[in-house]
């Protein structure tokens, strides 16, 4: 096929990707965004399959590509049918595949063109391979932690940061040496191995609670390595698509960092949840009020407005469908029920919204943090299910608290606060939550799913 025609197909494909992201900005147009994204990908693949290099190879060229398409689909479809709670793991795993593809292509290109690589192309290739291989192993590690195959607690040892940074420095130095003189083929495998090892070491000290930031960052890296491939292959479609992906991951990781009031360096090198030691005995003489399901149901029933604050604990207890029943019962009784979603609720950006949408909760009832905080002072009951640190008022006023400055949901401003929780144990960061000891707070001790079901039973029972 005419090469110029293929360039036009590529241009159309890039346009489709841009429209896909534009339409994804709001729910009513989002599905259209996916469709146009698929069209863009089909154009890109179709155009590439008709390129003269591929066509000239004849059947021999196509057979392996066809085999790869089939195997890829056989693996890809089940990965897309995982339950919604597993979406973060799936995403981490697919980041690793994306990065692996870029890294493998980079490796193949290097050995094919070694003799005539310009300094510039070698630089792009170095970035592609470095980012590709480190994102591959880092994403696999993130997958392992999210799937809980690996321990989710951060693992730290003395001198960890020094080891990590020197390893990266050596890898970068070798890439620079290759840029100066691309012919030093013996250096290339060393760069590969160092990148792979660095990816593993990078994730070891990162705890489960930081996964939203890390996944976003890896998303960005996978995109950037694809963009680097575009520079190597002289292909602008790759540069555009890679840049779009890179900027998306970058923005999401900034949003996640802000939502936790932390910096990139702090997430990557800080090992949150390990170093803070909560002051011993601070809570011994403090008293929390508790209530039974019956008492809580009576309060919920008489409320005009109830705001539910779900956290990852709700998803762990698989309570979202019981929460949906509670939503139904209360709504039928004329209570205005909304949900307050903190940006880091869940294990990846936006995860909590997906879990609630899966439970058939209408998305217009899901409030972002700012909206929720504007409404909380006029809310009768704030019901916290499986969330902890994001509701701790200490983040606003206690300068000694490790979470000081973190944006929180101001549930303490509601008339009454109810917290469903197994015990008074602190959350992942080991921080005492003063919310639990306020006069207006009722602790509902129990498993999120069981207790929510009891509430529903009480509310239904009343009517009979």
């Amino acid at each position: 096929m005419n090469e110029n025609l293929i360039l036009i197909v590529y241009l159309a494909s890039a346009g489709c990707f841009i429209l896909a992201l534009k339409w994804l900005s709001s729910v009513p147009t989002a599905r259209r965004g996916v469709i146009i994204g698929i069209v863009g990908m089909l154009l890109a693949v179709g155009g590439t399959l008709l390129k003269s290099e591929v066509v000239e190879g004849g059947f021999a060229s196509y057979q392996w590509i066809l085999v790869a398409f089939v195997i890829g689909s056989i693996i890809g479809v089940p990965m897309a049918l995982m339950p919604m709670t597993a979406v973060p793991q799936r995403t981490a795993l697919s980041h690793s595949f994306g990065a692996l593809a870029a890294a493998l292509v980079g490796t193949a290109e290097y050995y094919l063109q070694t003799s005539d690589l310009s300094h510039f192309v070698m630089a792009a290739l170095g970035i592609e391979v470095l980012l590709g291989f480190l994102t591959f192993t880092a994403s696999l590690m993130a997958f392992g932690k999210l799937q809980e195959i690996l321990p989710t607690r951060p693992i730290t040892y003395r001198g960890q940061n020094v080891v990590n940074i020197s390893l990266l420095a050596v890898a970068v130095a070798l890439v620079i040496a290759l840029i100066v003189s691309p012919g030093q083929t013996y250096l290339f495998p060393i760069v590969m191995v160092l990148s792979l090892v660095f990816g593993v070491l990078l994730i070891i000290p990162i705890g489960g609670a930081d996964m939203p930031t890390v996944i976003s960052l890896l998303n960005s890296y996978a995109g950037l390595s694809a963009a680097a491939m575009g520079f190597v292959l002289d292909n602008r479609l790759l540069i555009i698509a890679g840049a779009l992906d890179g900027s998306s991951g970058f923005i999401l990781s900034i949003i996640m960092c802000r939502a936790m009031n932390r910096s990139f360096t702090n997430v990557l090198f800080g090992a949150f949840g390990q170093l803070q030691v909560s002051p011993a005995g601070a809570a011994v003489d403090r008293l929390a009020h508790s209530a039974t399901a019956e008492e809580a149901a009576a309060l919920l029933e008489s409320a005009n407005s109830v705001m539910i604050v779900p956290g990852y604990g709700m998803a762990v207890a698989q309570a979202q469908h019981s929460v949906r029943d509670l939503f139904d019962v209360l709504t039928k009784r004329g209570v205005e029920v909304t949900f307050a979603i903190h940006p880091v609720a869940g294990r990846m950006p936006g995860h909590m919204n997906v879990l609630l949408a899966e439970a058939d909760i209408p998305y217009d009832k899901l409030l972002e943090m700012e909206e929720a905080n504007a409404e909380l002072p006029q809310t009768d009951v704030a019901l916290v299910i499986g969330a902890n640190d994001v509701t701790n008022p200490a983040a606003r006023h206690d300068t000694n608290s490790p979470i000081y400055g973190m944006p929180i949901l101001d549930v303490d401003k509601a008339q009454t606060v109810m917290v469903i929780k197994r015990s008074l144990n602190p959350g992942f960061a080991g921080i005492e939550n003063e919310l639990y000891f306020m006069d207006k707070t009722l602790m509902l001790f129990g498993d999120a799913k069981t207790f929510t079901r009891e509430l529903v039973k009480e509310l239904l029972g009343d009517r009979a």
Binding site: L21, M41, T48, I65, S94, L100, N219, G230, L244, D360
Partner: protein
């Protein structure tokens, strides 16, 4: 530096700014499908993978290329499918069940 490569830089920088502008307007409600969609889009690496696999210059490069096509296909198929599945769950009115 090769001056002929400058247009690539322009494209990269402009696409990055466009991306930042587009993503900033995506509702936080949709951040998970956003990530699965960009994940599928970044599987555009399939273009380079197909070329390496098809050119069949050396056995080594063909094997790497075929592996790369497989990995990209997983992301294309899986990424678009799961994004669609997620978006289908976002409903405004609650459906009447039972």
């Amino acid at each position: 530096m090769d001056s002929e490569l400058m247009p690539h830089f322009y494209v990269f920088v402009l696409a990055t700014f466009l991306g930042l502008e587009l993503i900033r307007h995506v509702s936080p409600l949709l951040h998970t499908p956003l990530m699965s969609l960009t994940n599928a889009i970044s599987a555009i690496a399939v273009v380079g993978s197909i070329l390496i696999a098809a050119e069949q210059k050396t056995t080594f490069s063909t094997v790497l290329g075929t592996m790369a096509v497989t990995a990209s296909t997983i992301n294309i198929v899986g990424g678009y499918l799961i994004t669609y599945r997620i978006l289908r769950m976002f409903k405004k009115r609650e459906p009447r069940k039972q």
